[in-house]
Amino acid sequence: MSKKPDTSIKRRDFLRAAGLGGAAGAAAMATGIGSAAAATPDRAADGGYRETAHVKKYYETARF
């Protein structure tokens, strides 16, 4: 399962050339990232839209 170094470099260079890092203001795109488990519901009055993320980590509970 080890990645060949030259494959990783090729992929990294491709992603950079494709423009992933080329956006000014793009750091703000990540606002709220990683807070999926902590988000609280915020329903708009008319449509039921919510600010919560769609997914969260699944916690397995202990079984006896």
Binding site: A18, G19, M29, V55, K56, Y58
Partner: protein, 203 residues
């Protein structure tokens, strides 16, 4: 799997952090009408001369031109409507013509194995494009446990996004009601192509 979860981001390569940002942003744009904070972010974007960069510029331009009310109405027409919107952004719909089909069942099984759960108050099926983008972002970053390696990311992408997401984003670009969400479609379409090509380099 029973960790309480750390808020600190786990160290991942820069290019993968950027991928996660794009997935996360697309998820936010598609989960609900763009609110003031999302519009502010969109308005401040500017891109380089790549196709992706140009699409960001187009989004920024339209974000500056439209009001939050316009955008909310547009989202309604595209995705909510009366009963249904112009588009149904679900894997099951794109792959079978119906909602709640095998693609959703497959996804749920995969989510179970990967330690991903649907948030408690979300009523839509999990095979919504916004949820899938969120799942990719979370797996890249390690929000559901350790960061998922590129092979497993590729498998998830191949199983749940590759066969339909590009078409959805094209439909969004072409949708009659789309003004703000048209460049969202462009960004999504280009990003899906980038992901597909980049995953081909994983072996």
């Amino acid at each position: 799997m029973t960790e309480s979860g750390s808020l600190a981001a786990q160290a991942i390569p820069e290019e993968d952090a950027l991928r996660a940002h794009y997935y996360w942003f697309l998820g936010r744009l598609l989960a609900a009408p763009a609110d003031d904070s999302v519009l502010a972010i969109a308005s401040d974007l500017s891109g380089d001369d790549t196709e992706l960069g140009q699409a960001l510029g187009a989004l920024s331009k339209v974000a500056n031109a439209l009001s939050p009310g316009d955008v909310k109405e547009e989202y309604h027409e595209l995705f909510i409507g009366l009963g249904r919107g112009e588009l149904l952004p679900f894997a099951s719909y794109y792959l079978t013509g119906f909602l709640h089909e095998k693609p959703l069942a497959k996804l749920r099984a995969d989510m179970g194995e990967r330690g991903i759960a649907r948030a408690d108050d979300i009523k839509e099926p999990e095979d919504h494009i916004a949820a899938l983008c969120e799942m990719m972002a979370g797996q890249i970053r390690g929000d559901f446990g350790a960061p998922v390696d590129l092979y497993d990311q590729r498998d998830f992408f191949a199983a749940h996004l590759a066969s339909w997401a590009g078409r959805f984003f094209e439909d969004l670009e072409a949708a009659e009601s789309a003004r703000f969400y048209m460049p969202v479609g462009t960004i999504g379409r280009i990003f899906m192509k980038i992901e597909t090509t980049a995953f081909e380099m994983v072996n």
